[in-house]
Symmetry: C2
Subunit: 314 residues, 2 copies
């Protein structure tokens, strides 16, 4: 195996994913465990890390770089938010560190943690991200572009000069879908787990069009996911897709209304979710491109390089 | 006790409320039980009715009139939706009936059930109501007025000539508040049950202003109920009110955007909820009036009269 140069940790709410990178930032090996911030009891983050990659730490002296919720107040140590606009170079100067006890309780190594970002939206409310900033920088997007990271809480980010993150917005779309299907009256008429087919696709597209049109009155628009079932306009097996479409349409409609005109959006993240977003964005008339699957690891590599950590190890 | 002239049943999803009315439609007695449509097992609606007011049925021959979910597909018998615009007189011609077995399985009496209403919104989706139409007619509102019935699913209704219900919109605001506080990440930072005070009132008003401003991107605007907690801008004890304000602001913002200009709204329903709505509507700059607490019973009385049921009993 070529010499490892970085242990890169994508440490989120649910999962811990570790990658061993070579001298050019290429992945040598990846591992993951359900050792996310919410899964780790009593602050035992060091144990969670060792459980996943004690052998890597024993075999190599290369630096450790993490991004994600591990730097939140509920994480290992809080890395204060940086105020957007923020470039990768600025973030690299604000890494925080925690000691990792590898042998006999001695502080053998330092784990570097990327800070999250904070911005004020036009209504004067804060928005925050942790982990997505690293993914965005790793996607190496052109200046002045816009990207979307689908997820439980999707993030829209608008970049400035040199790929700096100028501002961003969180949409609770995925979580709304979850609570509405599992806990609201909308789920009662639904049948889940149907094989995706034409009727699911059609229901999703109809939902997107409705959400785009009705995003300004979403608490009303959502009710269509009940009446369309009641009236037999959408089959129970396609109702989950109809609701998903309404919510994605509302997100795309809301994110693009009032903002600067947009022609193109880059999607970053999970393949299946990105496909849904690509459909919704296409219905809105936006061109869609996709970023590399390795954006997070790439971002951690770039952060470590900008912080001078790779030179020290090489 | 004066002669009873009508047994009026407000029979919803959760509760069954029965009122005994005199010759002028005044309430002689009221009773209620958790015998709503969802609580009654195996279609035993007759038993639920007898459990609450068998003595009334034994002592008097007056007619029975019901409105609400009892006329839905999950209810006793489905009363098909009438298409709005619909007047009280039109609905009174479309009552359906079910036999009530009072003694020894003989069909002694008829229960009359009011039909629900249906309308198409501007996006071509159906909206529905069951029970609220009777409440609205009972509130005796002026022609061309607008009223709001707060609740788990609040209803906005716009009236035409002679108090006919021209069109209406459902907003899932109350249910959104429920699922988001109980099941989403927003609830995690909240402390519930605090004595309402200045900070709750202030947080509610701030939420309303935010919801009014940000209703077009609600899945983003909602996230402020997390960041305001994270950043210490709203205390945990006031966060539920902040979220409630955001949702009510989004409802009022959505319902009034694009619709015909509105100066005045009549609120009908639960006192505490109506107070919250009155605040939100006032922040939007709308004048608010309140309808009688007895709108439902009054509507049932008027429907029974228009259907000729009261003449028969008197």
């Amino acid at each position: 195996m070529p010499d490892p140069h970085l242990i890169a940790l994508d440490w989120g709410t649910s999962n811990l994913r570790a990658s061993l990178l070579d001298a050019r930032g290429q992945t040598l090996e990846t591992r993951s465990a359900p050792g996310g911030v919410m899964a780790v009891q009593g602050g035992q983050f060091g144990q969670a890390l060792l459980a996943l990659c004690a052998d890597w730490l024993a075999q190599t002296r290369c630096p450790l770089m993490a991004s994600g919720m591990i730097g939140s107040r509920q994480g290992w140590r809080e890395a204060p938010y940086l105020d957007a606009p923020t470039s990768l170079a600025q973030a690299a100067r604000q890494l925080i560190t925690v000691p990792v006890m590898v042998v006999d309780g001695r502080a053998e190594r330092l784990l570097h943690i990327a800070p999250g970002l904070r911005c004020l939206d036009s209504a004067g409310e804060f928005d925050v991200m942790r982990g997505e900033e690293t993914q965005i920088w790793g996607a190496d997007l052109p200046a002045h572009s816009c990207c979307v990271l689908p997820g439980t809480h999707s993030k829209w980010a608008w970049l400035g000069e040199g790929g700096a993150i100028r501002h961003f917005k969180t949409f609770m779309t995925g979580e709304l879908y979850g609570v509405l299907t599992q806990h609201s009256i909308l789920g009662r008429l639904m049948v889940f787990g149907a094989e995706p087919g034409a009727s699911q696709h059609e229901a999703f597209a109809a939902g997107v069009r409705l959400g785009l049109r009705g995003h300004a009155e979403l608490p009303h628009t959502l009710f269509a996911a009940r009446t369309a079932g009641l009236m037999g306009r959408v089959a129970p097996e396609a109702l989950p897709d109809f609701l998903s479409g309404i919510l994605l349409g509302a997100e795309v409609g809301g994110a693009t209304a009032g903002a600067e005109p947009l022609q193109q959006v880059t999607l970053i993240g999970d393949e299946a979710l990105c496909q849904r977003y690509a459909l919704a964005l296409a219905i809105k008339g936006l061109a869609v491109s996709r970023a590399s699957d390795y954006a997070t690891t790439r971002g951690q590599w770039l952060l470590a390089g900008a912080a001078g950590l790779l030179g020290a190890a090489a």
